[in-house]
Assembly symmetry: C2
């Protein structure tokens, strides 16, 4: 199914307490996957899929960016980092 | 900064009430971006960035998949849909 994927992350200047907690837990658990200590930060954002019942056009991508910036994210604390499409 | 991006979505067979609400709101608002009615579904997942202070190796990607599946997502209701890296 054609879809547009809008990716939203907390702004880099802001703390991300949930991400910080995940990083601490990863380090604490010493997960079997090695070298968690090489992970210096974890940040958690959103991945929003817009599903279409037809082919996706360039206009849809532009519309998705507008929707992403005005509706799916909070511009005060979040950035739309990527808009992509998938068939 | 090198990072691995882990993308997690609710399983396709499950309802996504938050996504459904967003879709309804998009249709209701008749956002200036046209043809929202072509959007047949909205689904909301997570985008988790793991930041590294060094180059990312294939092993890191494999580790990230394991961390994603065992730690960053709930396998009962979510799928890890993509693991990618960015420099």
């Amino acid at each position: 199914m054609p879809k547009i994927i809008v990716e939203v992350m907390p702004k880099e200047v802001l703390l991300d307490p949930a991400g910080k907690s995940v990083m601490n837990a990863l380090h604490r658990k010493g997960h079997s996957a090695s070298k968690k200590s090489d992970i210096t930060a974890v940040r958690i954002g959103k991945r929003i899929e817009l599903h279409f019942d037809r082919e996706i056009t360039d206009k849809d991508l532009a519309d998705a960016r507008e929707i992403g910036e005005s509706f799916l994210s909070n511009g005060v604390i979040e950035d739309v980092v990527k808009i992509s499409s998938e068939n």
